[in-house]
Symmetry: C2
DNA sequence: CCGGAATGTTACCGATCGGTATCTAGTGAT
DNA sequence: ATCACTAGATACCGATCGGTAACATTCCGG
């Protein structure tokens, strides 16, 4: 087996630079390392070292690596909640606008983050059936889908549930495709396809910035 | 870390039962174990034992675990070629029929295989940048998309490339979603959504079996 | 029947895995 | 100054990782 990347762990150093307490530094390092190398590709030693502390202190805060994984997964869920709040703030009382905002936000993540969805990736790595992390992932994905469905309904979609499912498939697909074949592959057409699908469910296309309204 | 599944490795025993030469038994076991537990979740010892042989013989046929991984990846690509041949055989000289056949075939895999696409999963696990397996995965995914695009064009789609990309996103998304939230989630609507998208590109919907033609 | 190739067996290598014990050094509040 | 709590340091545990050396055995073609 060829050896893993050993180039400088930038994010980890950043985590160390912040003078937070060890617990915060540990979770920050775990976020960064799990994201970059995968859950099974990172050992607790590496996390502790990246956090500028040691394994003993890590185990005083987290009973096991699995605990740390759960922390990682839940954190990603909270991050997503923040993004939903952003979207709502940018288009208050405008479900259709929020829907398009969501698509654009998703597109941004697809192009900027080469590693794809951390939750979906974790589901691939957690092959041990019944692993507690799988429940966290499922709950998050279901919540995400239901939120999307609520938005579709509020925006007046003809079949909100079906539209939400279609958008979920497109988003998940774009993230995983971006990982396999890069930004020039099928994920490049994610926004165009998503907007076409949304429109086909009876939701009027959004006003493109810079283009005068047709009335 | 909780321990990995240790329930009987059925497929492995099957591989052992077939009286092929060690090499074939090894690749068969690797297929099965990599698929079920992920690449990083399986050691060479486990593969050798599942193949009814030992590590030494394994290393006489494969120089490293990475070599075995490449064998695994390439095998999946060949399997896919066979499926394309099936599709062509079932609807000869009927591009639109092959397109719908592809969607149905994909749906079958989505529901039957809980682990999703092995190539996409491998891309998640192979975090070491520049790993030779990543090239194999990319080549396969590109080939798959181009084949799909060719079919879309032959079927007379208005924008064949765009339709092919959309279908790729839907398929990839359905496979990864099925893994996170099961068959009752968004992937349940994969066929309906895909057929709607295909139709929206100007390709006539296929004749549903059991429904009389409208003329 | 013989000889070479393929396979099996066992033991080993250094490294890393997740996790723990022990002891010391620092810290802040009273 | 004291005391309890937090954190650092180091060594260790058994298990497993990918990979190899050496030798015994089996098998098959000539």
């Amino acid at each position: 087996m060829a050896k893993e990347n050993s180039k400088q762990e930038l994010g980890a150093l950043v985590a160390q630079a912040c003078v937070q307490r060890p617990r915060e530094r540990i979770v920050a390092s775990a976020q960064d390392l799990f994201h970059r190398h995968g859950i099974r590709g990172v050992g607790v030693d590496a996390i502790a070292e990246a956090a500028g502390t040691n394994k003993m202190t890590l185990y005083r805060h987290f009973g096991s690596k699995d605990d740390l994984i759960l922390e990682y997964l839940n954190y990603k869920g909270k991050k997503s909640d923040e993004i939903w709040a952003e979207i709502e703030g940018e288009s208050p009382n405008d479900p259709a606008g929020q829907l398009y905002g969501f698509v654009e936000k998703a597109a941004k993540f697809i192009t900027e983050d080469e590693r794809g969805c951390d939750l979906a990736n974790a589901a691939v790595e957690l092959t041990e059936q019944g692993h507690p992390g799988l429940r966290v992932i499922e709950e998050f994905k279901v919540r995400q889908r239901d939120r999307l469905a609520g938005l579709c309904q509020a925006a007046g979609a003809s079949q909100p549930g079906l539209l939400a499912d279609a958008l979920v498939l497109l988003i998940e697909g774009a993230r995983v495709s971006r990982r396999s074949v890069g930004t020039e592959g099928p994920s490049a057409n994610f926004v165009r396809t998503s907007e076409a699908v949304i429109a086909s469910f009876g939701i009027p296309p959004k006003d493109r910035p810079g283009r005068a309204p047709s009335v």
